[in-house]
Structure formats: C-alpha cells, structure tokens
C-alpha cells in the first residue's frame, strides 16, 4: 500500500503524481524504490480519476462513523 499512500499524499497536497515526486516521498519514508513498480503505478494511476474514487469512498464513511472506539 506504500505506493498508494504516497500517491494519495501527493494528490491531497495537489502535487502531480509523477515518477520523481513519488520517488521523493517514498525515499523520504525510508522505502527503497523499485523503479519498475514505480513506473507501472504512475502509468496506471494516470488512467484513474482519483477525485472520483475518493468521493465515492467518502460516500461510505457513514459506515465508519460507528466504529468501536
């Protein structure tokens, strides 16, 4: 999930999810980056409308609401 958390971090900071930016974040988190995987994730995310997905995910949180403490 690291690549996705890092991508969402960039997204919520309104930065482009580019190979360089993603690499920077992952490296700062102490993760040794796999170049092949990096390219694949960046390419695949280009085809995803992240805002749309997040909106849908956020439509659910009512469920989250009553989580045990």
């Amino acid at each position: 999930m690291e690549y996705i958390y890092a991508s969402l971090l960039l997204h919520s900071a309104k930065k482009e999810i580019s190979e360089d930016n993603l690499k920077n974040v992952l490296t700062a988190a102490g993760i040794s980056v796999d170049e092949v995987r990096l390219k694949a994730v960046v390419a695949a995310l280009k085809e995803v409308n992240i805002d749309e997905v997040l909106k849908n995910a956020a439509a659910m949180p009512v469920a989250v609401a009553a989580q045990p403490q």
């Binding site: 999930m1 992240i50 997905v53 997040l54 956020a58 609401a65």
Partner: protein, 295 residues
Amino acid sequence: MALTLKHKKIPAWKVEEVEELVNLIKNNKTILIGSLEGFPSDKLHEIRKKLRGKAVIKVTKNTLFEIAAKKAGIDIDKIKGYLTGPNVFIFTNDNPFSTYMFFENYKLRRFPRPGDKAEEEVIIPAGDTGMPAGPILSVFGKLKVQTRVQEGKVHVVKDTVIAKPGDVIPLEALPILQKLGIMPVFVKLKIKAAYHEGLVIAEKDLKLDLEGYKNSIAEAYRNAFTLAVEIAYPEPEVLKFTITKASKNALALAAEIGYITSESAQLILTKAMLNALALATAISGKVDLGIQVQK
C-alpha cells in the same frame, strides 16, 4: 483335449459377442457400468438414440464382459465388484464425468407402478378419454375427476390434478394413466462406476459438485482480486479499490484520533452523535432527557 471340448461347448453367438466386446473395449477409453435393476429395458432404446455417434450401449452377461475384459487386457479385479446383477455397459471416448452427467440429467419417463410417488403434477386432461362408459366412471369419481358421457365414451370435464409432486399416485389411477399415455414417474439409469484408462472411478466420485466448483471459482477470483488490491497491481480497475481502501484507512484513523479535516469532520461528528444517540436510547425509558429519541 479338455480345451477343445470346452471350446466346443461355447455357442457361436457367445464367441461373436465376446469378440464384439473386446473391440468395443479396445476402441473406447471409457466404459460406464450401469445397473438395469428395475430399469425398464425398453427405455434403453431411447438412450441409444440419444447417444448415437457418441457412445455404444450394450447389454450383455457379466460373465461375457469379464471374458472380453480379460482378453482386452483390463485388470478385471478392479471392476469385478461391479459385475453383479443385470448390467448395461456404455462405451465412449468422451470424458467419463461428462458422460456420467448425461445420465444424471437425462430423465426418462415411465408409467407409474403401485406405490410410486409422482415426480411432477399428475393431471388428467379435459376431453375425450376414449374409454367406454362403464365401471370406470366410478374410478373417475373416486379420483374426484368430473366426467360426462358422450356417445358412450367418458369425457373429462376439465383438467384435474390427481397427485401433486411427492404424493403417492392413487392405485386406481394407474390403469387410467396407462390408457391416457401419462408417464409422471422419472427413471434414470444408475451408473455404478466408470472404467477409464486403467482407472476405476466409483459413482460418488463421478458426481461433479458444480456448485462447489462455482464457489471455488468465486473464491479464486476473490483471492486474486484481494491480492491485486493489496499489492496495488498496476491496473486502473484494481488501483481504484486500492485507493478506496487507503482512503478508508485514512478516514478511520482520522476518526480514531479525532483528527478533524474537511474530509473527516463529518465522520467524526457522526460517530460521536451515534454514540450519544445510542446512549440516550439506552436510558430513554428511565429519564426525561427533554429530547425525542427515535427508536
């Protein structure tokens, strides 16, 4: 000497039949052994017709089959246990499981015998039965089938159900059903085992659990998808779910630590509110809280 004597005793038709069986065994990968116990032999014709080109159906004596099997090089000990009672042998090159499934699914009909249960609704149809009026009228009466006599023949007034699925078919109805050609009882050929390329597959193993296979496929798919989501398999469709998961994780964590942002505020407040409502509901019978708690 003894041998020649013995040979002389074997009638020609038996020798021919064994030869035919040997050929069938050699030319087919699969032999199914079916029991003819209680199976109306006239129904074999229907099966033969249905399987023409795919399988050869052969009724023969177990002893002859045994001789032929030995000649064809089959280890007879493996199948000897199934060579009892009247049997039919089905020779095919098809998949043994598929062939078994054919017999499982292929329902033949027969006339009911005393004590048989109906396997579908038994209906005496309206119209001319062709039966001359006479004592039979009282039988119809017993079955609560309304009749009238027209030109000396029994006419049924309207379609009448005389047995529901699972009911024992009334004894007195049997001759009427015979006359009317109604066969509400199913019969299937019971396959005891399959011999396939040196292996014997017993009946219980021949029966394919299709629901089980469906479940396995669904499970395999779920496993694959879960794994794909987990490793952020770089396919847009998969990543959507990975993102959803990451986002929900983030929201849940934010809610847990009361980290309020525009995204998490609703979630956190809703959680607090739900907790408050649950508690208010728990004591609502005892305390006037000055609010209305919906139950």
